[in-house]
């Protein structure tokens, strides 16, 4: 699952009939998540009535299909939760300080954008301020 922000909505009339009742949201992931194709945005089916601007959890792959209630949906991503608050370890993320190597901090935010209501935890949190 990945953490992302809903940045838009997608409307389609000509589509696979099994998508006919699905609300489609455009989500921008916060972190690099090794997608099959390097894309900055992905489209996910909404299961939790999320809206534009919400931080959401998106499930990718076959489980996304199961969450829609079956295996017969041509879907590979679903929004499964709206995020109220999240805590992240500062050590793991790409807050680069002088002398850091990219390899030491493998994760970074795409475009520098961060989730709202984000709390940093971990040892480095105090040291940096």
């Amino acid at each position: 699952m990945i953490l992302g922000r809903v940045v838009g909505t997608v409307w389609a009339t000509r589509k696979d009939r099994r998508l006919s009742r699905s609300k489609l949201l455009l989500v921008r992931p916060y972190f690099y998540y090794n997608p099959s194709h390097e894309a900055e945005q992905l489209v996910a089916v909404d299961c939790v009535d999320a809206g534009v601007g919400d931080d959401v959890v998106v499930c990718i792959g076959a489980p996304a299909r199961w969450s829609l209630g079956g295996v017969n949906y041509p879907v590979d991503a679903a929004v499964l939760g709206v995020v109220d608050r999240c805590q992240l370890s500062r050590e793991a993320f790409g807050h680069r300080r002088h002398g850091d190597t990219a390899a030491a901090r493998p994760l970074s935010f795409i475009g520098g954008e961060q989730p709202r209501r984000l709390e940093w935890i971990g040892r480095a949190a105090g040291a940096e301020r």
């Binding site: 909505t9 009339t13 489609l24 455009l26 390097e38 945005q41 041509p74 879907v75």
Partner: protein
Amino acid sequence: MLLARVVGNVWGARQAESLQGYRLLEVEPLRAPTGRAPRRSLVVVDRLGAGPGELVLVAHGSRCRDLTLGETVATKEATVAIVDQAEVCGELVGGDA
């Protein structure tokens, strides 16, 4: 799924038997307005009749392929919808065709 714009048709003079009769489209995933990702494109199999300029939804995976095209088609990418309009960061984007 990916939101992508169709940039062209692909024809193969000789192609695998499992691709015979299917339309191939070259598509380019829509990039974020502020994004820095390089332009990339991929080839998808289309059964909906999308044409160059249109926005399509591309699903990835063998199960999506099974459901939309059939189990014997040699691809992992299939179009599942032709997008009328999308709102991306407050801006409306539609097909050019």
